[in-house]
């Protein structure tokens, strides 16, 4: 069962950096990713948009595995700023999970 954290959802919504709302879940990003991480970015972004903090935390390893190479972004038809979104999630994890 998925659990929504309203504070997390609010922080994602209020963020100027996180812009995955335009994602149409086409999967091109996952298809071209050199790291071959299927979960990242589209599914993790969907979790973030829905405020499913637990699901995002389960994917901490994947989030830090991203190369930030923008291969996904170069192919994204919705022009989502994928690399910056990943960085936002890293920033969130650093502050709220690792307390850095």
């Amino acid at each position: 069962m998925a659990k929504v954290n309203p504070d997390f959802a609010q922080e994602v919504k209020a963020s100027e950096e996180f812009d995955a709302a335009a994602c149409m879940n086409c999967g091109v990003c996952s298809a071209v990713c050199p790291m071959e991480i299927e979960l990242l970015p589209r599914r993790v972004f969907r979790y973030a948009l829905l405020g499913l903090e637990d699901r995002v935390l389960e994917n901490t390893g994947n989030i830090y595995s991203c190369l930030l190479c923008k291969m996904c972004e170069a192919n994204c038809p919705a022009e989502v700023h994928i690399a910056e979104n990943v960085r936002f999630l890293r920033y969130y994890l650093n502050k709220n999970v690792f307390k850095l």
Partner: protein, 313 residues
């Protein structure tokens, strides 16, 4: 990493002597309105390569569970000093790349200084890992030092430092006013003739950051073409360049190596004698990916051979 940045000014601190050795004998003036800015990237890579070699040994072992202990020691004692010792060959190779770039700029008639031991790392890794607060403090420190030294214009030598100083710093520092160009852009503008024309095929491995963050795509091609190289294009090139895997090497060395091997295979399939790279991380990662049937080299080596006539050595 954040402690290193805050206490020692770099994610992997190295001695100033090591960071500035490349400039020995070049008599580059100290400071000035225009400076060559290395961001310490080429100098750091031999140390990172040596550290990763050791990290790989621990990655899946019993002792890997205790690597976190280093974090606490590092607050007092610079643990980086013990993480790996770079090979002399690597140090010579990476320093030569910086010398090539300085000599190319001189050959092109560019006047520039260098901050020598006052130069700081750009903070790129902290930014990439989302450590924005630590990054902001560090970026401010870098900018303050540039202003103290009267710098107005920066000539960068690697894609990550270019991206940080040109595109990211303005978002973190109010009133940021540095003019930043990659040395490749500067050389194209100067339009200098080749001292000797090459007669060889070359395939370009575009840096992700140059191609997709900074739009530095045509410049390496123009310079190689003017030097007489025949540039062979890959399907995965320019804006669609395939990452080398390097950015995650310190976290997941085995994954990075797999990606690197795939890219080397693509470069070999182009059928050229040389693969021209333009990033120290790409260079370290692809060379490490295994024995290649193609000469993997930094583009500055090819350009220096073609454009430098020896009078500025």
């Amino acid at each position: 990493m954040i402690d290193n940045l805050r206490i020692r000014g770099s994610v992997l601190p190295i001695a100033a002597r090591s960071a500035t050795k490349w400039a020995k004998g070049l008599d580059i003036p100290r400071g000035g309105k225009t400076v060559i800015y290395t961001g310490l990237m080429y100098q750091l890579l031999p140390y990172i390569t040596a550290s990763v070699r050791n990290l790989e040994r621990f990655e899946d072992s019993f002792w890997g569970k205790f690597v976190f202990v280093a974090r606490y020691f590092n607050k007092i004692l610079n643990v980086s000093k013990f993480m790996g010792f770079p090979s002399k060959a690597d140090l010579t190779e990476y320093n030569q790349i910086l010398r090539n770039i300085a000599l190319l700029l001189r050959q092109a008639g560019v006047e520039f200084g260098y901050l020598h031991e006052r130069e700081l790392y750009s903070g790129a890794l902290a930014y990439d890992l989302g450590a924005d607060d630590a990054f902001r403090l560090h970026a401010s420190k870098v900018y303050e030092r540039l202003k103290q030294d009267g710098v107005q214009s920066l000539i960068t030598v690697d894609p990550h430092t270019t991206n940080m100083l040109r595109t990211v710093y303005p978002r973190f520092i109010d009133g940021y006013d540095m003019h930043v160009r990659s040395y490749l852009e500067v050389l194209v503008e100067r339009n200098m003739p080749a001292a000797r024309k090459a007669d060889a095929d070359v395939v370009i491995h575009d840096s992700c950051v140059y191609a997709r963050y900074e739009n530095v795509i045509e410049e390496p091609r123009t310079l190689l073409d003017r030097a007489g190289y025949r540039v062979k294009e890959l399907r995965d090139s320019k804006e669609m360049t395939h990452c080398c895997g390097g950015p995650v090497e310190s976290l997941y060395p085995k994954l990075a190596n797999r990606i690197g091997k795939k890219r080397v295979q693509q470069l070999e399939n182009a059928g050229a004698q040389n693969a021209a790279l333009m990033c120290p991380i790409c260079l370290a990662t692809l060379k490490k990916a295994g024995r290649a049937k193609i000469q993997i080299t930094d583009i500055s080596n090819l350009l220096a051979e073609a454009y430098c006539d020896g009078q500025f050595n």
